[in-house]
Each structure stands twice: as structure tokens, then as C-alpha cells.
Symmetry: C2
Subunit: 247 residues, 2 copies
Amino acid sequence: MHRFLLEQAELSTPGVIRIQGEEARHAVRVRRLREGEAVQVLNGRGTAADASVLAMDPKGRWVDIQGDQGVRIEPARPRLEVCCPPPKGDRLGQLIDTLSQVGAASWRPLRCDRGSKTPPPNKIERLARVAGEAAKQCGRAWVLRIEPETDFDAALLPEQGGRVIVGDSSGSDAGATGGAPVRLLIGPEGGWTPGELERARAAGATIARFGVHTMRIETAALGAAAILLSNATIPGDPRNTQAEAHP
Amino acid sequence: MHRFLLEQAELSTPGVIRIQGEEARHAVRVRRLREGEAVQVLNGRGTAADASVLAMDPKGRWVDIQGDQGVRIEPARPRLEVCCPPPKGDRLGQLIDTLSQVGAASWRPLRCDRGSKTPPPNKIERLARVAGEAAKQCGRAWVLRIEPETDFDAALLPEQGGRVIVGDSSGSDAGATGGAPVRLLIGPEGGWTPGELERARAAGATIARFGVHTMRIETAALGAAAILLSNATIPGDPRNTQAEAHP
């Protein structure tokens, strides 16, 4: 099913929506949508509407769709924020793409003792586009948010409360968490310093191990997110009902 | 720490080992090893030996290292076999690389109703190299094995016994498994057919859900492997002891 991401759309009433720009061009020229085809519209902020293609410009300058009234879908629970140093090159985009698929709520670049370079503003902008594309691909009603950089000590004290879990091989095995928000901290490839681990324990963070081998940042972050979200739910999502039918 | 992978080495006695070819060139010209530097030698079949650099050819044609007697390290438990259709292009290499880091024992291309193309022999050979490089990077004593292709019905009946887990959004939430071997089946991006799911249930397989969103093959396989291996251990690995010290 083809999905459109229209961040400005409220989708509060049914009606005709005209799609232009790159979203229209891609739908017509690459995906080759046909009239009458069922599609979906997301606003990336929790509203999704079923729709069908009414008409389109053969050159892809516009597509008109008839949209139903949007349905509100809550974000996945637990809310998982991932903080880690940005991996190099393409691996940063892969991290955002895969964290989107696995259901993380947000990502934040983390500055820590063994260093990490802040991604430049144009890279951050590109990451927001990656998150938007991933939301369309995997049908997320909420786009993964790219948050401002934080340093390790500030990351230990989330403004909105919730548990802080620090990935480290010295911790005990991690498992699924309950419904409360979780902030996950994954360290640089050189590992945390002893001082950082001490400050994490002093701040009440849980030190948890997410695998038996040394992993690269983006693999550790994805694996850890998958484990922490392994019993996540999306209130109101039909897939929950399906899952409950085969306990 | 730099690691050498020498698949022919037995490492049963201490002694001088001469490394040649690409392994030597890379160590001298790219990693710029120095005399006296501590390194490790793996044979990819469960033996690891600490070693130090004795001498090297400045052009990288050879490196001599003094190796200790090798230590036997058991494979990670549970033994996890992953079967899935090969994702396209680079994503297949990424799958093998990340499954290696997360601790899967083997990967097998899976043929299923919604199709999958068998990777050509030269690609399979390249995957074995990817698995070897990943083992060096993450310090695995056992290289992830690339197994021959299987079809869905044969995959439901593992020759060596153990549980079969089929990933599907209709299943209940998956969690860590015990120590018994597990075969994990991840479907194509179009999903399983109803017939496949029925045959899986009839064969006694567990249908399990590994995430709230639709995922690409390689993301689903990695996330599911991370969840199933989240309390894995490596008998004899010093990292287990460390983990037990902070319960």
C-alpha cells in the first residue's frame, strides 16, 4: 500500500487532497499509482486516513486523492528515546531508518567522554527526511523525532521522567520493559569510561547488557531497542487485536 | 585489539605463526601494527589465542606473531539459526554482518511461497568473507556459518531438533528463549501466505511477533535475533563473569 506523508494535513474531515512536489512525482513516475488505487495518508503526528486516487497529472506534478476522515493512532508504548554518538557516514542514516522500523520514538546525538562529533545541521535535516520515508514504509503514524544533541550527564536526567538504561557489557541481561517511558543510552565504540559508568549508577540508571559480543553503535542501538520494545503495543492499532487472538 | 582469522590454524600449542597474504598486508599497511603490540588469533572454530607481534615486512608481505596456547571458547547458547529470503543488494551483506554481531550461529537462504531468488555462488562466497570480517571485529570465536538454501517446509523440521519460531504479526510477543537451539524463520516483505502459516502451526512451530511495525527483512531478522538471544551466554567467556558481578 502506498502511503503519503503530509505533515501539514490535519485530516480531521473527509475530502479531496491535492498532493504536489516530490511526493506527487514519486507516486506517479516511480510507484505508478493508478486511478482508484487504495492509498493511505499520514501526517506523521498520529493521524492516518485511508484514501483512494481520484486523478493525477501524467507528468507527476499533482495527484488528487479522496481521503476518509483521519483516525487517531497513539504512539507505541513504551515510549523509547535512543541516545548514542552518531555513527559515521551512511551508518547514521541506517540507524534512523532501522530505529523507525523497530518503533523508537526519538533519537538524540550523545556527547560522551570518548567523544563524538555533532552532525552538521544539513545532516540533521537529511535524517528527518530518512525518518519520514521510514514512517511511510513501515506505516508508523508518528514519525521518529530527531532531537537536539545532549551530553552524557544531562541524558541521565530525562526532563519527562521514566527509566534510564545504559547499555554496557558489565550489566545484567536486559529484557522487555513495561509501559513507562525509557531512555536508552548506547556508548561509543571505545566504550564508556569508568567515570561515566559510576555517574550513571549514582544517578539511578540501570546498567544492562544487550548481547554477548562487541557490537557497532548502530547494531547495538537497534538490537537493544528491539529487546526493550519486544512487548510494545500501539493502543488502537488493529495489529494488537490480532496479536491477542493467538496468545 | 587487532585480530587475525586463520581458519587453518589449530592453535593447540604456543609458538611463532607467520601470517601472509591479505591478512598481513592489511595489518601492516592499514592497521599499522607495531612490534610488541598485543593481538589475538582466532581460527573461527572456537579457538582463540593471545599473541604479540614479533616482526613484520614493511611492505606487508608477512607478519610474525608469538602466540600463546589457544583457549577453547564454546559457541553462544542458545544456538540460533536464522532462515530468511535474501534481501536485495548490499542489504544481504549487512544482514550477515549484523547477525554476526548479535550472536546468531548461522544463516540460510529461505525459499517461500512469495518467492526469493537464490543468491549466486559467488555471492555466497562473499558472504562467508563478510562473516569472517565480522567475527574479527566483534571477537566471535565461531564464525557465523552460511548454510545451503532450504524451502519453507523443510525449514520447519530442523535436522538437529530444537524449537522453530516463525515471525509474524499474528503471533504473540516473543521473548528470550532458554538454552535449547532455536531456528528463526523471517518471511519475505510481502509476508507469509495463509497456507504457510497453517503448515507452520501444523508442524508445531511457534508464531511470534517481534515488533509493532512492518519491518524490512534484514531489520526484522536482526531485531528478532536480538530478542531471542537477549539472555544468551558464552560458556567460558570472561564477559559472563563480568555480567554476573552486577546482577
